[in-house]
């Protein structure tokens, strides 16, 4: 087998050295009745070429040749070959968590740069080395707020990504955290007036998302003020961080839970992605996840090491801030390299392109008789469209035209059954937006 660097004679030599009669002898502590007597029924073994063939065949059974208008927390954006070439260096790809700092300075410095970029982007003071994804980052942010305030209730906007809220519900259930949801207004923004002051006074945090699940930007100032007045924290969730290239950062928030997939990470049918938590310095000791810090060696040379580990499970066990161990380091590196390539100018230009594309798509939709944009709030690169027909009807016909249409909102909001969430980015050609509009015009008129 090509992955195994031993000849049969070497195996025998090693067995002899060990003093074992046979390889089976090394497994004798396993009771005989539980040792497999037959080979496992597994496909393979396959050569490298056969493995490639298998996966190429699978790649033919997906959406190649389709144009997608899906966003909803996962975005198609430019990716540079530079990023991919760099992260495939074995020294990054095949290294472990940098506990041995002296031979992990590359990873550690890159994490330090990642933390810096995330803090700069979100307008927060400090960010961690990554969480699994946005949904678990949000969930962990709520647990963090609970520890900080010692309150066991949380108010969550219905405009927060529904799957993120589902994950929060799974975790909160057995921790005794009560999750209460609140609604939105005709602008598509949160209904701040619907939050009672007495509910706030008992809550660890108010959780909002901006741009929210409907693509609408939330005004964070007023909600932060309302929350802080009652001793609650504001958690802001961001699923489209490219927006921060042109949109004001959530400085008013106390904790930011971010999904960084937009920055060079392929959509890859759901993962791996990159969650991040950013917060204020004073809250850092309650923040979950790894942190790299700057320090020096005995000769005064600058170096980086993992730090504040007393928050973590390998030191604190059941008293840890979280059970997280493995995170998404390699994809945090992807994000870091991608953002270095973009730089200050590129980030802004890319964000501005998204803004322009979305405006163009909004105009194209509005021009179709019977099609409306139900929410009046400002958007970044996705928005809700209301059709005169159910989404199922629209999307089935679009699929026949090789278009993956807007995400049907009734999947998560049963009352919004004629509405779809439409996303366009810099990689969506104008001609495809026009083709979508023409197809919808036909479907709606039929």
């Amino acid at each position: 087998m090509r992955y195994l660097p031993k000849s049969q004679s070497e195996r025998q030599e090693m067995l002899d050295a060990v003093g074992a009669k046979s390889i089976e002898a090394l497994f004798e502590t396993i009771p005989a009745k539980y040792r497999l007597r037959e080979a496992l029924k597994l496909p393979g073994p396959l050569s490298e070429m056969e493995i490639i063939d298998y996966f190429k065949a699978r790649a033919e059974e997906t959406s190649r040749g389709y144009t997608s208008f899906l966003g909803a927390g996962v975005y198609q954006h430019v990716r540079s070959v530079v990023t991919d070439a760099l992260v495939q260096r074995g020294e990054f790809l095949t290294s472990y968590t940098p506990y041995q700092a002296e031979i992990s300075q590359g990873t550690l410095q890159a994490i330090f740069e990642f933390q810096t970029l995330m803090a700069q982007l979100t307008g927060q003071e400090v960010a961690n080395a990554s969480m699994y994804d946005g949904s678990t980052a949000l969930t962990e942010s709520v647990l963090m707020a609970e520890r900080l305030t010692q309150r066991h209730r949380v108010l969550v906007a219905r405009t927060v990504h529904p799957e993120y809220r589902q994950v929060l519900a799974t975790y909160a259930k057995h921790l005794g955290i009560e999750v209460e949801e609140f609604g939105f207004t005709a602008s598509g923004q949160i209904d701040l007036a619907s939050i009672r002051a007495d509910a706030l006074a008992e809550s660890a945090a108010v959780v909002v998302q901006s741009p929210n699940f409907f693509g609408v930007l939330e005004a964070l100032g007023p909600v932060a003020e309302a929350a802080h007045a009652q001793g609650a924290l504001l958690i802001n969730c961001i699923t489209e961080p490219l927006s921060l290239g042109v949109v004001r950062p959530p400085e008013a928030a106390d904790i930011v839970a971010l999904e960084a997939q937009s920055f060079g990470v392929p959509s890859s049918y759901g993962g791996p992605y990159v969650g991040v938590i950013a917060t204020r310095d004073k809250f850092v000791r309650q923040m979950p996840g790894r942190l790299a810090g700057e320090t020096t060696d005995a000769a005064g040379r600058r170096g980086f090491c993992l730090t504040l580990a007393t928050r973590e499970q390998h030191i604190r066990r059941e008293k840890a801030t979280s059970n997280i161990c493995t995170n998404e380091a390699l994809y945090a590196l992807v994000v870091t390299i991608h953002l270095c390539l973009l730089g200050k100018e590129g980030l802004r230009e890319l964000a501005a392109q998204n803004l322009a594309k979305a405006r163009f798509a909004q105009e194209a939709m509005k021009a179709i008789p019977g099609v409306t944009l139900p929410f009046s709030g400002k958007i970044f690169n996705e928005f809700v469209v209301e059709f005169p027909r159910p989404m199922k009807h629209i999307n089935e016909r679009l699929l026949a035209e090789k278009i993956i249409g807007p995400l049907a909102l009734d999947r998560y909001y049963p009352e919004q059954n004629n509405r779809g969430l439409l996303c366009v980015t810099e990689v969506t050609p104008r001609a495809e937006i026009e083709r979508l509009a023409a197809a919808i015009r036909k479907i709606v008129a039929a």
Partner: protein, 528 residues
């Protein structure tokens, strides 16, 4: 301080050129500051096609309420500078691709390159998790095929590929236990955990709303079966066990332990972190395990990438299947689908459908071996025993039971000379190896936990053995040399106390203008 540095550097040269160090030599590596320190206004590393719709001024479009000027402090560098920056950083890392990485419990095996290639194929890397099943058949079939393989390897009945790390698999498994017991009328209160367990185990128990009850290992590092009986009360929901245990020893009474638990209505959870000792040899499902997770970034070769990503799929017996998290991958007449309609489900543990890119690589790994996965397990166990055999006369072996995929020594003998496990580990770096796992498991004082995996040749194992024996000798003849190691790295041991006391967790413009501690002296001698 600078004097000390110079002296140290001189000794470093001497020690890395010592004839005893065969695997590693010295070579120059490039110095490199932080990317922010290289930034010059007006540079950029990427350009885009021109906008094909009318431009929109963000300030006007968003208004004063939402518009942002620019991101303060963001780097401005060219493409070549990005390439050099990260390439230079990469050369400061050790990696499996460079040599043996014997971290116990971490299973640092070869990460096949073809897995990277197929994960990047257009049509797989490009798919959106919310796209219709009809245009996702290839992705769903990959998930379904992997599920089938993992069930065959573990002998379990059903799987969830949703959890994205071992710790999340643990939590998911515990929530499944809770949901099952709740359906029987009583979720119970406690989870039993041996004192040799990974830290994630107790941390996950808390999130699942249970209490941890630690059980002491007996003198042989195993669960004391008579003692164990008394622990399993009506309050106990499950035992969470790692098998082989973290000292690399098969839990000989595991089937009886399962019976005791089952007879009292409790379940057996197995942490599959050490599955690399069992794949193809024995199946947890056959010896009484009710629920377990696998670490695909360990046993199934997906790259650790400096800390992640991983995947922690959960495998269960039939009784737990109704409670699996959503979505579940199903197949009917050759049509694959994501099933969300599962009324008894514990819910979602993550958005979308798991770390697909990791799952895909694990399938590529499994396909490469097929039933031959047994050979990988045999080689892994052979390597561990070979290393044990050649080191047990110089390092203390606290638990003298047959080793499986890893061996755990203690630093008891070297401590007499003031040298501890961390010192030995750091000295290994000078010999060209990544250290083993230090100071874990907690039941061994000063542990040296060594897991070579099947990916190491006899030659590499021999070099490792030689290095470890040489360090054992140095610990007696020149303990200072070991205690001050590593001598050949870019930086020496770092001041972790200062790092934690006054944390500097990000770059800020001013703080770095005032000091220049990062200017590495020309005499610094890097390796790796």
């Amino acid at each position: 301080m600078s004097n000390e540095g110079t002296l140290k550097d001189k000794s470093a040269r001497a020690e890395t050129e010592a004839p005893g160090i065969k695997k590693a030599g010295r070579h120059v590596s490039q110095n490199e500051g932080l990317i922010f320190e290289k930034s010059v206004t007006g540079k950029r590393g990427i350009e885009f096609p021109p906008l094909d719709v009318p431009a929109l001024d963000p300030a006007t479009a968003l208004g004063a309420e939402f518009a942002r000027g620019g991101v303060e402090g963001f780097p401005e560098v060219s493409e070549i500078e990005v390439i050099r920056h990260f390439t230079r950083l990469s050369t400061w890392n050790y990696a499996i691709d460079l040599g043996m990485y014997p971290l116990g419990s971490c299973t640092m095996k070869y990460n096949p390159r073809v897995n990277e290639f197929v994960a990047r194929l257009e049509g797989l890397a490009t798919e959106h998790p919310l796209q219709p099943d009809k245009v996702s058949q290839g992705c769903l079939r990959i998930l379904h095929d992997l599920q089938k393989c993992l069930l065959e390897i573990t002998g379990m009945d059903a799987a969830s590929l949703e959890p994205v790390a071992g710790a999340q698999g643990e939590l998911t498994g515990l929530l499944l236990i809770r949901a099952y017991l709740e359906s029987k009328g009583n979720a119970r209160r406690k989870i039993l955990i041996p004192d040799s367990a990974h830290g994630t185990n107790p941390a996950s128990v808390i999130i699942a709303g249970y209490e941890v009850e630690n059980i002491k290992s007996n003198a042989r590092g195993q669960i004391d079966i008579e003692n164990f009986r008394q622990f399993v009360t009506e309050d106990v929901a499950a035992l969470m066990i790692t098998n082989p245990s973290t000292i690399g020893v098969y839990e000989e009474n595991i089937a009886e332990i399962a019976e005791i638990l089952h007879s009292r209505g409790a379940l057996l959870y197995m942490d599959g972190a050490n599955m690399n000792a069992l794949a193809g040899i024995t199946r947890p499902g056959d010896f009484g395990v009710d629920v377990m997770h696998l670490n695909l970034h360990k046993t199934f070769s997906t790259p650790h990438g400096g800390g992640g990503p991983g995947a922690g799929p959960v495998m269960v017996k039939k009784i737990l299947e109704p409670f699996l998290p959503v979505p579940v991958v199903t197949e009917k007449n050759g049509e694959f689908a994501l099933d969300f309609n599962r009324p008894k489900s514990i819910g979602r543990v993550r958005a979308y459908c798991g770390n697909f890119g990791v799952l895909l690589r694990a399938l590529a790994y499994t396909l490469a071996y097929g039933p031959g996965i047994r050979q990988a397990t045999e080689d892994a166990v052979l390597n561990a025993n070979y290393i044990r055999k050649h080191l047990e006369d110089v390092y203390d072996l606290p638990y003298n039971l047959p080793s499986m995929h890893e061996v755990v020594f203690s630093d008891a003998r070297q401590k007499r000379h003031g040298v501890n496990t961390m010192d030995i580990a750091k000295r290994l770096i000078d010999y060209g190896f990544h250290p083993y796992t230090t100071a874990f498991p907690l039941i061994v004082s000063g542990a040296l936990m060594i897991e070579p995996t099947e990916s190491e040749s006899k030659e590499e194992c021999d070099l490792f053995i030689e290095a470890m024996r040489s360090i054992a000798a140095e610990a007696e003849t020149n303990p200072e040399l070991v205690k001050t190691a590593p001598h050949a790295t870019r930086v020496g041991r770092l001041d972790e106390v200062a790092a934690a006391r006054k944390p500097i967790l990000r770059w800020k413009p001013r703080q770095h203008l005032d000091s220049t501690p990062h200017k590495v002296t020309a005499t610094a001698v890097p390796t790796a």
